[in-house]
């Protein structure tokens, strides 16, 4: 305040600063592009023969050049992950000269950490990301296709949903140790109380009208707000993950999947409007529990249904035992649909030796590791062989419906849109869904969302993959 005599130097400093910032802005623009192409080593791919997935992209050259330490940016540092890394380092890693270092970034801000790392050119070698992050990461060149690292034989061991989720622009970028299961947990005793038919598979899911009747009957029988939808999870990935299926089951979608250039006629299609209007009517009629402060109302309070993913299974099973059943989400006209996808492994573009990274991804997606990671997450193991061994995921098992839905992907378990625009679409749909639950006019809200999504796609020049 008092040193007005230093005005001049200050002005100079500011000018210099602005120049520096502008200069750095220009240069950072160009380096960001530089990182993307990089690492595909053009060495002879030699020995491998059979029909490889995208074998034309020679990501791996079949040999590890020298001892390396690679960073794994994980979303969790819990036992199963730490164990997998330890086992790798002590086993195949030791033989190959590869050491993996686990860096736990947590789930909440994972995407921000990776974008931040990319902006400062310090990407970790292995990225363990939630399914739909992939497409934007791939568009930005943060990750590279697995190319010839992975054999067709290996690909065939996975649930089709996992491969679908890992594919962007026809290239396989990632593999997961597990997939997610989404459905409606119900109390068998409550359903029997109101004489409700219990659907066995998505094909004979309750129609929306049938489900409305069941909800109303339950309410009449004394259950207040019978449908718990985990409103306490708040804005974020859960809403598009769990509730985009309403739009899809109504015959719409979040976006036109042919080219991913517009949401018009999809997110605001008549089917989508009708389906969401039906859902809104449940809220208006007090059939939906919006007051839950956590995700345990299904077991602590009297809710009859819980619209939630696989991760609540262990808690629910412990509390309800044999009374717990899994039923498909209601059919709003175009068949019962469900969300899918979860955390999966990919190779960043900042990799010196892709073979070393692949050695770890390959290890983390083998039966033993898949078994322990999926069990820890309470999720659906990604390998068909592991699924067959687990009675809970086999015919007659508690969670068999998950497997059937995932095997019927993308018809029943619908992957989130495989476009770099997904981040924006997710935020928009999360908002829209909250507004609709809050009582907003459905058609108007969806039209506005379509307008916003289309504007974003346009301002990103169609999110077309860079050459």
């Amino acid at each position: 305040m008092r040193n007005s005599q230093v005005k001049k130097p200050k002005r100079l400093a500011v000018t210099a600063l602005v120049l520096a910032l502008v200069a750095s802005a220009c240069s950072s623009g160009s380096t960001a592009e530089g990182t993307s192409g990089g690492q595909t080593t053009a060495a002879d791919s030699g020995d491998d023969t059979s029909e490889l997935v995208n074998s034309d992209i020679e990501t791996c050259d079949g040999k590890i050049d020298k001892d390396v330490t690679i960073a794994l940016a994980a979303h969790s540092g819990d036992d199963a992950y730490a164990q997998t890394v330890d086992d790798f380092n002590a086993g195949p890693g030791k033989e190959l000269g590869v050491t993996v270092e686990l860096v736990n970034l947590g789930e909440e801000s994972y995407e921000d950490f990776i974008t931040g790392a990319a902006a400062s050119n310090s990407l970790p070698e292995i990225i363990d990301m939630d399914g739909p992050f992939l497409y934007n990461f791939a568009w930005n060149g943060f990750v590279q296709p697995l190319g010839n690292c992975v054999s067709q034989e290996k690909v065939d061991e996975f649930l089709p949903s996992v491969i679908g989720q890992g594919t962007y622009e026809g290239e396989l970028y990632s593999l997961g140790s597990f997939d997610s299961g989404m459905g409606l947990w119900a109390k068998k005793s409550d359903l029997e109380k109101v004489d409700a038919r219990i659907p066995e598979s998505s094909a004979d899911a309750w129609s929306a009208e049938e489900f409305t009747t069941i909800l109303k009957d339950l309410e009449t029988s004394g259950v207040s707000a019978p449908l718990d939808i985990q409103w306490s999870y708040g804005a974020g990935e859960f809403r598009p993950y769990a509730f985009a299926s309403i739009v899809q089951s109504g015959g719409g979608d979040l976006i036109d999947r042919d080219g991913y250039q517009t949401a018009d006629g999809f997110l605001n299609s008549q089917g989508a409007v009708d389906a969401l209007t039906t859902f809104q009517s449940w809220v208006n009629d007090g059939l939906v529990d919006l007051e839950a402060i956590d995700d345990n109302n299904f077991i602590n309070e009297d809710a009859s249904f819980s619209w939630v993913g696989h991760w609540k299974y262990n808690d629910y099973k412990e509390a309800l035992g044999e009374d717990l059943i899994l039923v498909p989400l209601p059919d709003f006209g175009a068949g019962s649909k469900t969300g899918m996808g979860s955390w999966n492994w990919a190779m960043s573009s900042a990799v010196e030796d892709p073979d070393a990274v692949w050695a770890f991804i390959d290890f983390a997606t083998q039966a033993e590791q898949v078994k322990s990671i999926a069990a820890f997450e309470g999720a659906v193991p990604s390998l068909l062989s592991v699924l067959e061994e687990d009675p809970s995921f086999s015919p007659g098992g508690d969670r068999y419906l998950y497997v059937r839905n995932l095997q019927a992907s993308p018809e029943v378990a619908v992957p989130r849109p495989q476009t770099a625009a997904y981040g924006f679409i997710r935020n928009e749909y999360s908002d829209v869904f909250a507004d609709i639950v809050g009582g907003a006019d459905v058609e108007e809200t969806l039209n506005q969302a379509v307008e916003n999504i289309d504007a974003d796609i346009e301002s990103n020049e169609g999110y077309r993959p860079a050459e």
């Binding site: 802005a25 804005a235 009582g439 974003d456």
Partner: protein, 274 residues
């Protein structure tokens, strides 16, 4: 000074530059100069004006209410009574909380069957128990309640210090002249603290425009439900969260101009010394 230049003026000028580009946070596409496109986008979007309106509603209600309450509390805890230190501390404690953490606690308290409504139910004989956070009609009110709770202590402390700076001689003189309590307050206290009062008013206005943490965390979605508590800060954060750095920068520049204008405007009412 150097510090101010590097960490405040510099980034601001950079934001001005960015606001004229189509810069994304990260994108393989090159950054282009787009002139006033971002500004036109923002100023023609109904969301921006709705957010600005919410900002004004919040300020118009909060500023007088909060300042008045702060003054009342300051006068109360300024009494030479037993326990006044306890009350001073109690009213000031919320200031030491992180607003985002407090918002999470409040979201539980404001649950339709939470503590807040349980008390209301008793007081109003069950006549008034709104769903504060999910019903768009009440959410702004809830935000105002939380905001006042969270920051009234700050104004109170400034005003308390001001009150203690008013000479006791003046009160004694007033008593000699036969002034009652209200007259003393009106003609001794208020003039004595007018500078600090003006300061708190200005600061409250500016801070109230920065409304963010509460409206980001309390409602079912940031600025919700249905944009009932959307503010310019939320608009800005959401634009940058959506990768649109250019657009977010243009909102930041507009926001700066609005607050600058308000500050200059209120400066005209600054009390002069006679």
């Amino acid at each position: 000074m150097m510090f101010t230049a590097v960490f405040m003026v510099g980034p601001f000028l950079y934001a001005v530059y960015l606001s004229f580009t189509n810069r994304k946070l990260l994108s393989p596409l090159p950054t282009r100069w787009v002139g006033f496109e971002n500004y036109i986008d923002v100023l023609t979007s109904s969301d921006f004006w709705a957010a600005l309106k919410n900002n004004f509603v919040f300020s118009v209600v909060t500023v007088p209410l909060q300042t008045g309450l702060a003054l009342a509390l300051a006068v109360l805890v300024n009494q030479k009574l037993r326990g006044s230190t306890f009350f001073r501390t109690t009213y000031f404690i919320p200031i030491t909380f992180s607003l985002s953490a407090a918002s999470i606690i409040w979201s539980v308290l404001l649950n339709p069957s939470g503590l807040f409504n349980t008390v209301l139910e008793i007081v109003t004989f069950g006549q008034f128990t709104p769903d504060w956070l999910n019903d768009p009609r009440y959410t702004m009110a809830a935000v105002i309640i939380v905001s006042i709770w969270a920051s009234v202590g700050f104004q109170m402390v400034i005003l308390l210090a001001a009150l203690q700076g008013v000479s006791q001689d003046l009160y004694q003189a007033a008593s000699v002249d036969g002034a009652n309590a209200w007259e003393k307050f009106r003609h001794v206290t208020l003039p004595g603290i007018r500078h600090q009062l003006f300061f708190t008013l200005t600061v409250t206005i500016v801070l109230s425009f920065r409304l963010f943490d509460q409206v980001y965390i309390l409602p079912p979605k940031p600025g919700g439900p249905i944009d009932a508590t959307n503010t310019i800060m939320v608009e800005m954060i959401q634009a940058s969260g959506n990768n649109q750095i250019g657009k977010a920068s243009s909102i930041a520049v507009l926001f700066f101009l609005i607050v600058l204008f308000l500050t200059i405007f209120f400066r005209r009412f600054e009390p002069k010394d006679y």
